[in-house]
């Protein structure tokens, strides 16, 4: 199980927002989906997932709703709000800029 520090600082929010942009999910499925789409590279720890979700919800970027999941168990589903979508765009742009800069630096030829 990877520790939260294994994820680049601050990217967890971005990842959650992106996953939820695809479709509303509950907490468990978010972690699973993230693992799947990253081909098992990105693991979010169970411990850090929920505080992050609650923080995003209180920030107004995601909204929650209790809905039946499989075998009629009730689960809390999160979805992206309008506010969240613009936040996602902003964070995505930031991330792209940052990762491009980092890869540029690490690819510098050594003398």
């Amino acid at each position: 199980m990877s520790k939260p520090s294994d994820l680049v600082q601050g990217t967890l929010d971005l990842l959650i927002l992106k996953i939820l942009a695809l479709e509303p999910l509950n907490g468990w499925s978010i972690g699973e989906r993230l693992r799947q789409v990253s081909s098992d590279v990105l693991h979010v720890s169970d411990g850090s997932l929920y505080p992050a979700l609650h923080k995003l919800e209180q920030g107004g970027w995601i909204a929650s709703e209790w809905k039946p999941s499989e075998n009629n168990r009730r689960a809390k589903f999160y979805s992206l709000t309008k506010l969240g979508r613009s936040q996602l765009e902003k964070e995505t742009a930031d991330w792209t800029r940052l990762s491009r800069a980092i890869s540029h630096v690490v690819k510098l030829k050594e003398a």
Binding site: M1, D46, K55, Q58, A63, R73
Partner: protein
């Protein structure tokens, strides 16, 4: 964007605050769902059910902390945890009701005393008038003597109003006492105000019912017999009957029509008065038949009108002042008695005018300081209680620290407890204060016209109390809280079941007790100084007990209209007869009469010509009958007293002057036998005697130049006199006979009280008495608090040291040794407290008396008697506080203690 943001999160926040349980349940359910999923996943990997659950919990990495993080994300965890703290605090305080009661009582005394004094300060000095935009109001004054006075002649008022460009309008008013009769039934005399036509419009006050006195009521002298009544009078006398409007009432015998009722709480601009009747200033000669006609051409200048106004918008007070200064001189008539050195002043009137403010602002500020110190002592007291308790709670706190509570969180918890104690103290304090300030007000009101102040706690007072309580709570709570949470966990947990436990803490306790001793000693010394000063003021004696002089006002019918033809002569006859009668009463040694009570400042004055320069000087004149000086024990410096011959109509006008007047009028000469001329009316007097300045009319050592004149020679409308009777024996036996003699001269005259000179002086020394009494009271409270603190500390120390004491006794210490050991500790603390307190008191009093003149009379701020008595009282009280625990220590049974060890 921001708004949209809040529209998302506000409902969430509110929900987590008010649907707390539901939100918590949802959190549990959400996490539980996740755990089940994880367990299933682990099981699928082949783990047993139990191992899978462990793995799932491990993956959560600290379930409780994670949940707490989710709660924190909700952003209201501070509110939530404070509510938790409060619930917990309630339980803790409820568990030790004795401690809670003692602490709350200490605080209630401190906070209550502060609230009581503050509510008086608020009522007298801070509260704004209940009128429209009071901050725009300005009151005109003039500096004729040392102070700004607020009185003007009618001429000046009229000229100012007509010619000024600075004010939107000016209004005038003057207080008056009125006898009211409704339906032929005479009411007790009420306070009234004579007001100009613009008065109510300038103040922006409308009638509650009917109409206000307006411009149409301010045209012709004696021509507007209309009156407004106060809401209180309307309720009291007419049961709020709207039919009261239009009713006829008699004011001083003259018919008036009620035209309106003033709104509740309105009292004009004089704070501390409660006028019941308002009439037009045009009616002054009608409602004041005893005085001169101040609207016309009075013989004597009388500055009877207060002038208030609102400045025109955008005009600076300095410009208005400059204009009024010019008008004051340009339109003056000789009767206005304008002097070259007079200076016009303009004062904000938002808080009204008050004689009380001048009289009581210094005493109130002194008392505020005193009660501030009492509160500080109460704080130290409660702090040491909390400290002792924190030691007892050490194991509880250690456990909480050990299982992961942050120190900050614990400090907060303890502070919440202190704040709750402070709040409890504050609530009790408000109740105490309400009762206390009413008692204080009636104490101040004794022996004078009632002071009407609303002491109902208003937002200012409540805010003050809340702030004081909060500051108090933090003040006494912070040190014990910090101390209690600074723990070595190991020893604390280990000694959990041992008596005593850690020995840390007494240092701070010592400091707190020393502080209490020092502060209460300061208060005791200050109280002692005030008491001694009052005693000195009281002690300037005339060689006979003051209880043996009776004083009584005599007001036969018509005595207030002395200027009417024939009245003076008739009154003179009545008074001579009365004196004869009184002198014949058994037990009466001497009797005489004078125009004022012995302790009242004489306010009537005559212009007297200084013979050497011809300069006109103001000399206060007072009407007397023969025997006045011997009755009051005022000694003659030269010349002789009046005789009956001096009172004959044909006699040459004679005067007795006091030494101040002699110094002023005849500097360096022997005044007796000299001639003296008065102006307005012009009359030549012969000075037949010079007397020492009276002890009573200048109790605080101020001097007043006085001329004592035979009754018939004083030019005034006031013919009421005060009877002075010196008696032998018990006043209770003679007073009724004197009262009866007075009644016999006029059956219809109001029955007035006979008082002793001692009571008169008491009333005159009210300020000093209030300060001395209250500072003694608060000194006693402070002493009691300090003694309780000392006792608590020593008792606690004895319990803590019982093991040591047991061992000492086991190896041969005598009970006496143990007793002395504990007592010595107590006295050492008190000694340090005294060593700090005395210099602090000295410096404080020296500072205070350099700021406030006349603070102490006849003694220095380092008065050894006051300091000595205070130190002895403190030491004795401390010895008692230390003796009880010491005795308990001496009774320790070594066997019992050693077995416990």
């Amino acid at each position: 964007m921001r708004l949209e943001h809040w529209s998302y999160i506000l409902p969430l926040r509110l929900r987590s605050l008010f649907r707390h349980r539901e939100v918590e349940r949802e959190l549990d359910e959400e996490i539980e769902y996740h755990l089940e999923k994880r367990i299933d996943a682990e099981k699928a990997k082949g783990l047993s059910a139990e191992d899978a659950r462990y793995a799932a919990l491990r993956a959560m990495d600290g379930m409780t902390q994670r949940k707490e993080e989710c709660r924190q994300a909700r952003g209201i965890s501070a509110v939530e945890s404070t509510m938790q703290d409060i619930r917990y605090g309630l339980r803790v305080l409820g568990k030790s009701p004795g401690f809670t009661a003692v602490a709350a009582l200490s605080l209630a005394l401190g906070i209550g005393a502060n609230t009581a004094i503050f509510s008086l300060i608020n009522a007298v000095m801070l509260r704004t008038l209940p009128v429209q935009n009071p901050e725009q109001l300005r009151v005109l004054g003039v500096t004729r003597g040392p102070d700004l006075e607020y009185g003007f002649t009618y001429n000046h008022y009229r000229q100012f109003r007509e010619h000024n460009q600075s004010f939107q309008d000016l209004a005038a008013s003057s207080p008056v006492r009125l006898s009211v009769s409704v339906d032929g039934q005479v009411e007790p005399a009420v306070a009234g105000q004579m007001v100009s036509g613009g008065y109510f419009s300038v103040l922006g006050v409308n009638a509650e019912v009917g109409r206000t006195i307006g411009a149409q009521d301010d045209r012709v002298p004696k021509g507007h017999p209309v009156a407004m009544i106060s809401d209180g009078f309307w309720k009291r006398r007419f049961a709020r009957d709207p039919g009261a409007i239009g009713r006829r009432i008699l004011l001083d015998g003259a018919p008036f029509t009620v035209i309106g009722v003033t709104p509740p709480g309105f009292f004009g601009i004089d704070v501390g008065t409660a006028p019941d009747v308002w009439v037009s200033i045009m009616m002054q000669p009608v409602v004041m038949p005893d005085a001169e006609d101040w609207l016309g051409k009075p013989i004597k200048t009388d500055y009877w009108l207060r002038i208030v106004g609102r400045l025109k918008p955008g005009l600076s007070p300095a410009m208005a002042l400059a204009e009024m200064e010019v008008l004051y001189r340009r339109y003056a008539v000789p009767d206005d008695d304008v002097q070259p050195k007079d200076k016009i002043g303009l004062a904000p009137a938002s808080r009204g005018l008050s004689a009380l403010r001048r009289e009581f602002s210094e005493p109130l500020l002194i008392l505020m300081t005193v009660v501030g110190l009492v509160l500080l002592i109460a704080c130290a007291n409660v702090a040491s209680l909390l400290l002792a308790r924190a030691t007892a709670r050490q194991s509880e706190l250690a456990v909480r620290l050990a299982i992961g509570a942050g120190r900050g969180r614990l400090v907060r918890q303890l502070l919440v407890e202190s704040l709750m104690l402070a709040a409890l103290g504050g609530i009790c304090g408000i109740l105490l204060a309400y009762w206390g300030s009413e008692a204080l007000l009636s104490f101040i009101s004794r022996g004078r016209a009632a002071i009407a102040l609303s002491l109902r706690p208003d937002p200012q007072v409540l805010g003050f109390t809340a702030a004081v309580s909060a500051i108090t709570g933090i003040l006494f709570g912070i040190a014990p809280a910090l101390r209690a949470t600074r723990l070595d966990l190991g020893p604390s947990l280990k000694s959990r079941f041992q008596a005593g436990g850690a020995t840390r803490g007494p240092r701070l306790g010592n400091v707190l007790v020393i502080g209490q001793v020092a502060l209460s000693l300061v208060l005791l010394i200050v109280a002692g100084l005030f008491v001694r000063s009052l005693a000195k003021l009281n002690g300037q004696d005339a060689g006979f007990p003051r209880e043996s002089v009776l004083v009584m006002r005599v007001e036969p019918r018509g005595s207030d209209q002395r200027n009417l033809p024939g009245v003076s002569a008739r009154l003179d006859g009545i008074y001579r007869g009365l004196l004869e009668r009184v002198r014949a009463i058994p037990g009466v040694r001497a009797a005489s009469m004078a125009g004022v009570n012995p302790t009242t400042l004489v306010t009537l004055h005559l212009a007297m010509k200084k013979p050497s320069t011809g300069e006109l000087l103001r000399v206060n004149d007072i009407a007397v009958y023969p025997g006045y000086f011997s009755t009051l024990g005022i000694p003659f410096l030269a010349g002789r007293d009046f005789t009956a011959d001096d009172f004959a109509v044909s006699a040459r006008p004679a005067a007795v002057i006091n030494e101040s007047a002699a110094r002023k009028l005849f500097p360096g000469e022997n005044a007796a036998g000299k001639e003296l001329r008065s102006e307005k009316p012009s009359r030549l007097f012969q000075v037949i005697g010079v007397v020492r300045d009276s002890h009573y009319s200048n109790l605080r050592g101020e001097t007043q130049a006085l001329a004592y004149l035979p009754f018939l020679l004083t030019p005034t409308g006031r013919g009421q006199m005060t009877l002075h009777v010196r008696i032998a024996g018990n006043p209770g036996a003679v007073a009724p006979l004197v009262q009866k003699a007075v009644q016999e001269i006029d059956k219809d005259a109001p029955l007035l009280e006979v008082r002793t000179l001692a009571a008169e002086v008491d009333a005159a020394l009210m300020q000093e008495r209030v300060i001395a009494t209250l500072s003694s009271f608060f000194g006693a409270v402070a002493l009691a608090l300090a003694v309780v603190g000392l006792y608590g500390l020593m008792a606690f120390a004895v319990v803590r040291r019982s093991g040591e004491i047991g061992i000492r006794m086991a190896i041969g210490a005598q009970r006496r040794d143990v007793l002395w050991m504990v007592l010595r500790d107590t006295l050492a603390l008190v000694g340090v407290g005294i060593a700090i307190g005395v210099p602090v008191a000295l410096v404080a009093m020296r500072l205070a008396s350099s700021r406030i003149s006349g603070l102490l009379f006849g003694l220095s701020s380092g008065d050894p008697v006051a300091i000595g008595v205070a130190v002895v009282v403190m030491a004795m009280a401390a010895a008692v506080a230390g003796y009880l625990p010491a005795r308990r220590a001496a009774r320790v049974d070594p066997m019992v203690v050693l077995r416990n060890e």
